[in-house]
Amino acid sequence: MSELFWILLSAMVINNFTLTLFLGLCPFMGVSSRVATGLRMGAANIFVLVLTSISAWVLNTYVLADAPYLRLISFIVVIASLVQIVEMTIKKVSPTLFRELGIYLPLITTNCAILGLAIFQTSRGYGFLQGFAFALGAGLGLTLALVLMASIREQTELADVPAIARGTALVLIIAGSLSLAFMGFAGLLSAG
């Protein structure tokens, strides 16, 4: 139990996917100008991450044991189809939810956080539950970073940011500062 909790906490804050591992930077830079959008993107990500973790576990356990060289291809194909299926399902089941999340789902396919999760989970040899905790933590961490960045960006829109810093440079500096602040979580639960 405590191991699962640590895995979740680690992926969420200690080794935050975005701020420490630089995964999921595309949405972080692109979709982080509004808090509401960030939240939806985050929710979509959590969902897909958990599904990915489960399918990566299934693939690793039952399919890829003897053909590790096909891992990358299988992952990318499975993730792409998964997102496709999820998109279609949501569209059928809940058009409202689709309007909220739908447009973000195709973007997720090319989000390195998803593939990164599958690869990290494999290389660390996580089991099913560990993978689940990992995916949940990673998703929450992504959402946290995304939403924090979005709320800060909304605020800096009101600021007199010097011309040379406007845009990506400022976002990077803020991300660096956030990453610096997240260093405070280092060693959490390992001090005992």
């Binding site: 640590w6 680690s10 200690i14 080794n15 595309c26 692109g30 044991a65 590790p68 060289y69 096909l70 291809i73 792409a80 496709q84 998109e87 447009i103 195709p106 973007l107 396919t109 090319t110 660390r124 280092a186 060693g187 639960l189 390992s190 001090a191």
Partner: protein
């Protein structure tokens, strides 16, 4: 990737395009996949020996380091609480936990090499250590994987004064502040400024030993 620059895999084809029959789509993907698979098998077979060799070499190096150049070593698998030299029939070798038993030139066992992992300051620290059940003392320790802070936490790997303490120290270990030791057996001086990382090493070894002790003891008893 900027949204919209690339259509998703399922994006509808532009209406002015001629319809391609489904079999052609499947055939393209299928043959592409087959070709890719074929290519990868070839590359995999070509690189496999070297990769395996690298891995084996790394493992051997680590074991040699923590068991002080044994003449040879065996891999023991943990199966149902028992350590066995042979792989149990039908068992998946990847799923089994293992330790390594080293022998000296006279074929006498010198000790076990055991891997351990614990969350450290930044991320999980993985290490291997040598343990001699006869004396209850460690033979050596080597960090296999760490992401601890460069210049600080990574001293657990790079600071020879710290690493060398794990040779000959009695288990269970006790981490103490540098210079604050009372001369008791099992004391290990922690690294100033990297207390958490160095303490994690101590804890990882202690926990691994605690976990392995029954199996190690049982294995010794069964040997002549």
């Amino acid at each position: 990737m900027s949204p919209g620059s690339v259509h998703g895999p399922g994006a509808p084809a532009p209406p002015d395009e001629p319809r391609t029959p489904a079999w052609r789509l499947l055939a393209t993907l299928g043959s592409g996949g087959a070709l890719a698979g074929l290519l990868l098998v070839v590359v995999y077979q070509l690189t496999l020996p070297r990769i395996e060799a690298h891995k084996a070499e790394a493992l051997q190096q680590a074991i040699e380091e923590v068991l002080h150049d044994p003449a040879r070593f065996d891999t023991l698998y943990l199966n149902a609480g028992q350590l066995t030299r042979e792989l149990p029939a039908g068992a998946d070798p990847r799923a089994l936990e293992r330790v390594y038993l080293g022998y000296d030139d006279a074929e006498t066992p010198v000790g076990f090499a055991i891997t351990a992992a614990e969350p450290g300051f930044q991320d999980v620290i993985r290490l291997i250590f040598g343990f001699d059940p006869k004396t209850g003392a460690l033979l050596g320790m080597k960090v296999l994987e760490t992401k601890e802070t460069p210049g600080l936490g990574d001293k657990i790997e790079k600071d020879s004064a710290f690493v060398s303490q794990f040779t000959g120290v009695a288990a269970p270990l006790q981490g103490v502040k540098k210079g604050a030791g009372k001369g008791k057996p099992g004391e290990v001086d922690l690294i100033t400024g990297a207390t958490i990382s160095s303490r994690t090493v101590v804890r990882a070894i202690n926990r691994a030993l605690e976990r392995w002790r029954p199996a190690l003891a049982a294995y010794r008893e069964r040997r002549p």
